[in-house]
Symmetry: C2
Subunit: 300 residues, 2 copies
């Protein structure tokens, strides 16, 4: 089990690796992150975008543009469609967005005829977070995509996070279903759904992990808090995975950690036919790099 | 305008100050925090609880129990009722709980006949947070009491926070209505209510502050994020007050800051006839002390 984002690199296979397809990767952050991934020797990159801009930015940042395969397509909308098509035709293993609106990127992914949705799957998002004040990585969902997940969608979120944990060599991750409180309260849907998902795991309906909830964030990640509140649970104080009730809670958590606690992260859309890197515009280059590495590890 | 919790002390009036009534203050954290407040010379304390235990714990921690007035009442339930009665009879200015279940404390406060509810007021909670990674104090609501505030309750939450800001000598606080995104989205109630509350402020219906929203947490507290996302707003990047959509989001934010970013705080129930200190069992003594000082400042 790895406990730092930097250890993701050790998990990459050597030799000819996965091919990343980047839509509109014309900006320094994306080019820097992708170049660093290519230099591991385990990831190849195909850039679909403005060829002149890509070459210029790369050269300005002391990166040899020849390390990338480039498919010239200066129009942003056409570039992202082309990138998705290349992945659909299995000429690439996974996707990333560069300087492109998230809405445009998601529209291309979600397109029913020409997109990357896996049939019948829930579209969600998985973030792996490293913060100095927790001894291991936290895998969390959903901080970016699904506004009001219902019970079935929460189960899908758990499964995506568990799959990610297994990929990080954590065979039996501890999943905390986060609510504002630990006691089940009929007025708080978060506590009801957390209880139901926990019981589903107990019945063997969600394999490969240990699930408990409802519990507030402090109980999930702090043993002393769990003891003070008298919560006895194999998950409390030692969570690997945090499932939030809705996007409001997940987003508040995620922004708190990145802006107030200097967290680093790797983030991907989940539920698509291939991994699709999705970081925020404000995320540092380091987080984009880790996202590219995590995508390569999750790509089939 | 003060920017650190330690500056709260400078706002206290000298001379015979407010009288705090503590229910069941038998534990070292409460006794330590209250003693420190009494030693400022501006707060008096009346302890309703187990007299022997209070004297023993105080002495063990080198605190002279004679600095407290003590009303002996070893039974916890009777002690909290007695403490509330003393405040109702105006023999005390505000309330605090010691080693007592929050549910028991709230029950005594909420009691229709003998409690401390102000008629027609929304019961909520205000937390003042200090974190090293933000240059000023953040006043937030609701992280502890109100599960699913509706529009009217959100307006009440704003007003409680604004009143607190004024008390901290911030005459025109900037209020951010937090949602997961900045664009109004009919599927996200958080964004609709944020937009409505902002407009109400524009129409002069919520005086004494500047309100804007919806905006995600990063835009509220980080100028660069606001610029990247193109959000032009007098509040963005400079918020004093954060209003969360619901308890799930508020609680996730609050626990993230206290557990991952080492935040300190002062916290009170709002909407009661007098300030009622309400901190978490796990909060450090320092936070209890600041809560006692803030309560004295807000007490009429």
């Amino acid at each position: 089990m790895i406990t730092k984002l930097a250890e993701l690199i050790d998990l990459l296979k050597t030799g000819p690796g996965k091919k990343l397809v980047v839509a509109c990767g014309d900006d320094p952050h994306t080019i820097g992150a992708v170049a660093r991934a290519v230099k591991t020797g385990s990831i190849k990159a195909l850039m679909v975008g403005n060829e002149a801009a890509i070459k210029k930015v790369a050269t300005e940042h002391s990166i040899d543009p020849a390390i990338f395969e480039i498919v010239p397509e200066p129009d942003k909308r056409r570039a992202v469609k082309r990138a998705v098509k290349i992945v659909r035709e299995k000429k690439g293993d996974y996707l990333m967005k560069g300087l492109l609106d998230t809405a445009e990127y998601m529209r291309a992914i979600l397109d029913k005829e020409e997109g990357l949705m896996a049939p019948g799957k829930t579209l969600s998002h998985v973030t792996v977070i490293e913060v100095a004040t927790y001894p291991k990585l936290l895998i969390v969902s959903d901080v970016a995509v699904l506004p009001n997940p219902d019970l079935g969608q929460k189960v899908a979120m758990v499964n995506y996070c568990v799959e990610t944990a297994h990929c990080l060599k954590n065979d039996k991750p501890k999943v905390a279903m986060i609510a504002a409180v630990e006691k089940v309260n009929p007025k708080l849907v978060s506590t009801l759904e957390a209880a139901v998902v926990s019981k589903m795991a107990e019945r063997g309906q969600i394999p490969g992990c240990i699930i408990d909830g409802p519990m507030a964030l402090d109980v999930a990640i702090n043993k002393e808090s769990a003891d003070i509140k008298g919560v006895k649970s194999p998950v409390a104080g030692d969570a690997d995975i945090l499932i939030f009730h809705d996007l409001e809670a997940g987003n508040a958590f995620f922004k708190s950690l990145t802006y107030f606690a200097n967290a680093r992260l790797a983030a991907l859309v989940a539920g698509t036919s291939v991994p699709c890197v999705l970081t925020s515009r404000g995320d540092p280059e380091e987080s984009k790099f880790y996202s590219v590495v995590l995508g390569a590890l999750l790509a089939k």
